[in-house]
């Protein structure tokens, strides 16, 4: 398969097609008759999937550097170029978003009835924006994609959301925009400093990375600028209050995209930009402790708050905050295991939370309510939905054998050396996550069927099954056989650790010697 792909010069055009195709599809969708909008969208989504899935084979996991690299100068005089590339950190996220696109389009087949053309056009724009963030290796291009995908999300929540969608949409945009406004100044300042000494003004990631040394004197405020932007997106503990609102009000497609990919841009940003550029400050004892503590607070706090949420989507939103806390803990664990664990949590959280949102969307399409108390005893009426929900619930709380456990286990065991007490505290979430997940599943699917309205709702139809079953198969496959995923990210993880190794302060526990 790999040689077939290289024979058709796959690595040269794959990223451009992935980015360009949805953009071209937007006019096609907007000016097509209303009925055919979703078919075009689905067609484009399928082609995107077919093209994108090739990355799985074409990506050479032995090489640790950037692959599929393209470097075309865009604004000549000022070092801005259309520079894209994929490496171990981003290959899984690109694959995940490519896989999710057709599912997202398909899941909103019934749910979206007004202004369909606009909706599918926005999904296409959002997809390009998301992919762009993960493949951009030019900081200017990265910033453009980072901000540009706010608009499709804003309109998606604003127009197709539910009750107080305006508040949620505005809060979402303001939070992210205010969070990342300092990042632009930081980027320009970095390029200016590097240009002053090396004479080369270029926003290329490699150029800035090689001269990261020069940025040390301003490391503190530059890192804070980046960290603020990414922390809002993660969302790290104090900056998370936009997520529950955005999730609750967004339509299914919106919250799936939000949960599966948008949240990962923050953690990806830390791994790609914030830490490698300013390792001295980022990994110093105090910053490390602060970030890890915030991550752990986020984990436990969100799990506890999730327990008392009346609204199902809000509950899953808080669970996402908790899962993303794991990713941050993994990043600051600064060992190969914890970083790979972090990436695995990013992928598996995408699968399980994506599936959860799809199912809640299906419930919403049937009963038009997200209040847990309105449901009860659905297992008898919709056995398939109940089984799928229970399996996904257990994968979300990290049952070993399903995908959640792999990531969480690696993060915890990897970070244990550096932060034993914090990992101990974080592990208690194992109980709380079981608490909120099982309690809500019980109140929705088990218990007595009291509400007569629930009697009539039908079980999953073929289309809905086609959305859910692949995700469940993926969950079980990743849970039992994560080796191929780990192989693909190990190159980048090792390179990342070697890069920050000289700067790392001594961990609490000595490294375990290798015993077989």
């Amino acid at each position: 398969m790999a040689d077939f792909l290289s024979s058709i010069g796959y690595e040269h055009w794959v990223i451009h097609v992935l980015l360009g195709l949805p953009i071209l599809a937007i006019p096609a969708i907007l000016f097509s008759p209303v009925k055919s909008a979703r078919y075009i969208a689905f067609g484009v989504a399928l082609t995107e999937l077919v093209v994108g899935i090739g990355l799985w084979w074409a990506y050479d996991s032995s090489r640790s550097g950037m692959q599929f690299v393209t470097d075309i100068s865009w604004v000549q005089g000022f070092g801005i170029g259309y520079r894209v590339g994929i490496d171990g950190l981003s290959v899984l996220m690109v694959l995940l978003s490519v896989i999710m696109l057709p599912l997202v389009v398909w899941s909103s087949w019934r749910g979206i009835d007004q202004k369909q053309r606009g909706f599918y056009a926005l999904i296409m724009a959002l997809n390009t924006g998301m992919l762009g963030v993960f493949v951009a290796t030019d900081l200017f291009l990265f910033y453009m994609f980072w901000e540009m995908l706010l608009i499709p999300m804003y309109f998606m929540i604003g127009i197709w959301g539910s009750a107080n969608r305006l508040y949620a949409a505005t809060k979402f945009v303001i939070y992210t925009f205010v969070g990342s406004f300092m990042m632009l100044v930081a980027i320009i300042w970095m390029v200016a400093v590097v240009a002053k000494t090396t004479g080369v003004t270029s926003f290329a990631y490699s150029n800035l990375l090689d001269h990261a040394e020069l940025l040390r004197p301003w490391g503190a405020w530059l890192f804070t600028a980046f960290a603020l932007a990414f922390a809002v997106k993660v969302p790290l503990f104090p900056f998370h209050t936009w997520l529950p609102d955005a999730h609750t009000e967004a339509p299914t497609a919106g919250s799936v995209d939000l949960a599966v990919i948008l949240l990962k841009m923050g953690t990806y940003g830390f791994l790609r930009f914030a830490i490698p550029f300013f390792p001295m400050f980022a990994l110093s004892k105090t910053t490390g402790m602060v970030m890890a503590t915030l991550a752990v607070i986020g984990i436990i706090y969100a799990a506890l708050v999730a327990m008392v949420q009346p609204d199902l989507k809000r509950l899953i939103a808080y669970s996402s905050v908790s899962h993303l806390g794991f990713v941050m803990l993994g990043i600051w664990g600064s060992t190969v295991e914890s970083v790979q664990g972090a990436i695995m949590v990013m992928v598996s959280h995408g699968l399980s939370t994506g599936a959860l949102f799809f199912m809640i969307g299906m419930l919403y399409e049937r009963r038009h309510t997200r209040k847990i108390t309105d449901y009860g005893g659905l297992a008898r009426i919709t056995p398939m939905l109940a089984t799928a929900f229970v399996i996904t619930a257990f994968s979300s709380i990290g049952l070993p054998g399903l995908n959640g456990f792999v990531g969480e286990f690696l993060v915890l065991i990897g970070s244990f050396g550096r932060y034993p007490w914090l990992v101990g505290a974080a592990s208690t979430v194992v109980v709380f996550s079981a608490g909120y997940m099982l309690w809500s599943t019980q109140r929705v699917f088990f218990n007595r069927l009291t509400n007569p309205l629930n009697e009539g709702i039908g079980d999953l139809n073929l289309r809905e099954l086609a959305v859910i079953v692949p995700l469940i198969v993926a969950m079980i496959w990743v849970g039992l056989y994560p080796a191929p995923l780990l192989k693909r990210t190990s190159g980048a993880a090792h390179a990342y650790i070697e890069m920050i190794q000289p700067v790392l302060p001594k961990p609490a526990l000595a490294d375990p010697e290798v015993h077989r």
């Binding site: 005089g77 000022f78 901000e147 608009i151 406004f181 100044v185 200016a192």
Partner: protein, 499 residues
């Protein structure tokens, strides 16, 4: 081709665009004297004035193409790329405002075609101000521009607000030009010269005396008023709201552009030696203008008033480029002014058509649900808002980025941070506009039925929106053009010896 400015032939050649435009103004004036009764006359007067602008642009283009530069001292008017660029920018703005105002005047029932000659003379004044190489030309250009705009501000005689706007603008304007003039007098007293180059050389030679500092201060105050920097900004919101909408657009983009271009030239040619003196002043003005400009805009309900405060805030951003005092800074001024003027013209163009004849100003709540009735207009206004906000993908972002990098390359970090704090605050009043139009339902059934989109205005606005998006993604040509012109300005600013 070299032009000897001291000879009359050379002078007329150098001043060709201005002279042509004045000629056309008189032609239109004569035409208006006879035919001023109905809409047709208004339209032909408008068309004639457009011809005037096109001929002036052609003249500027010809001069630039021939590579005109001054032999020896550039006597009264500067002859360099920067001036030609400024003239092109100002003429473009005037042309666009004329297109917007043709149909608008008829709808508002102001059948006074002398509007167009005044506009043309104001543009001549602006070109002289932006291109001045001599304090006298500077003063004259400023006054010609100001006096015509005083009248234009009060053009809608039937409405008290317009008259009040004119009065306020006139009183404070005259007061400010008094300061400017006193500054010129003191500078003249300190150096004995009026010509920029000579004054610059004089200040470079001898350390600045008290009188020179006072002179510079006064001139800066005069310019600060014209640009509506904060302590001197109080007139702007009232005059912008009172004046007729096309004139507001003209003031927000044209006058601000001319003032900034002149200030850029003055700071780089007249006071380069005293950089350490005026930088703190520019710094202070920038900080205060950005913050108060953005904050005050938050609590506005009327669109024109909100855009007035946003204009003040953008003036604050432009001070960053002036503070930079480098080639990149000057180029940033040019680019940002182009970006800002395109966006403002488009925004006011759409607002003008939303205004009903004689009704009060357009409030934010009047825009609700516009997307349902007028999708393209609301999308256009949203693009303008995003461009003003500096959202990536729009030309406004490129302008803001260019500004920030100009300041940052000079090692200034505080101002860019304040600028970004300002733009973060600005989302508080730009986003609700987008929100109101697209996401909110229309308040009443026949909310937007009275909107008329005249064809010429629609085309002009469409071109602007397309330009915002295109240049937002592909800004190369504009950036390189601006950098060349900035280099030429620096060359002409060099003391006579090593030109």
């Amino acid at each position: 081709m070299g032009i000897d400015l001291s000879s009359p032939g050379g002078a007329t050649l150098a001043l060709l665009p201005e002279i042509l435009l004045t000629f056309w103004a008189l032609v239109v004036l004569l035409f208006v004297a006879w035919r001023h009764r109905d809409g047709y006359d208004m339209r032909t007067a408008g068309a004639l004035s457009l011809l005037g602008y096109i001929s002036a642009v052609a003249a500027t283009g010809w001069l630039a193409w021939r590579g005109a530069h001054a032999d020896g001292l550039s006597f009264m008017i500067a002859l360099d790329g920067f001036r030609f660029a400024s003239d092109a920018l100002l003429l473009w703005i005037a042309g666009a405002v004329t297109i917007l105002s043709v149909r608008w005047l008829i709808r508002q029932g102001i059948l006074a075609p002398e509007y167009y000659p005044l506009l043309m003379l104001a543009t001549v004044g602006m070109m002289l101000l932006a291109g001045a190489a001599d304090l006298i030309t500077l003063f004259l250009g400023l006054e010609v521009m100001s006096i015509s705009v005083y009248i234009l501000a009060g053009f809608d005689r039937t409405r008290r607000a317009s008259a009040e706007a004119a009065l306020k603008y006139f009183l404070i304007g005259a007061f400010a030009s008094g300061f400017l003039l006193y500054g010129i007098a003191l500078t003249y007293g300190a150096t004995g010269q009026f010509n920029f180059g000579l004054i610059g050389a004089q200040f470079a030679a001898t350390p600045p005396t008290l009188m020179a500092k006072l002179g510079m201060g006064m001139i800066l105050i005069g310019f600060a008023f014209k640009v509506a920097a904060v302590p001197f900004h109080a007139w702007a919101p009232d005059v912008y709201e009172g004046a007729p909408t096309p004139i507001t657009a003209f003031m927000a983009s044209g006058i601000k552009a001319a003032a900034f271009l002149a200030l850029a030239r003055v700071l780089s040619e007249v006071f380069p030696a005293m950089v350490e003196l005026w930088r703190p002043v520019v710094f202070g003005l920038a900080v205060v203008t950005i913050l108060i400009g953005n904050l005050s805009a938050l609590s506005q309900t009327s669109m024109k008033r909100m855009l007035a405060y946003s204009a003040i805030a953008h003036a604050g951003y432009l001070f960053l480029a002036l503070w930079a005092h480098s080639d990149e800074g000057t180029a940033a001024v040019l680019v940002y002014l182009l970006a800002y003027s395109i966006t403002t013209i488009a925004a006011f163009g759409i607002l003008a058509s939303i205004e009903r004849a004689g009704a009060r100003t357009v409030l934010l709540t009047d825009l609700e649900g516009l997307f349902a009735v007028r999708p393209f207009a609301s999308m256009g206004l949203s693009v303008c808002m995003l461009s003003l906000l500096g959202f990536p993908g729009t030309f406004g972002f490129i302008g803001k980025w260019f500004l920030l990098s100009a300041a940052l390359h000079q090692g200034q970090t505080v101002l860019p941070v304040i600028a970004m704090v300002g733009s973060a605050i600005s989302i508080g009043y730009y986003l609700p506009v987008v929100l109101a139009m697209t996401l909110k339902p229309t308040r009443t059934r026949q909310a937007h039925q009275t909107i008329r989109f005249p064809r010429p205005a629609r085309i002009a606005v469409a071109i602007c929106i397309f330009a915002i998006l295109l240049l937002g993604v592909w800004p190369n040509t504009v950036l390189n053009f601006a950098t060349q012109k900035a280099v030429q300005l620096r060359q002409s600013a060099l003391p006579l010896g090593n030109r």
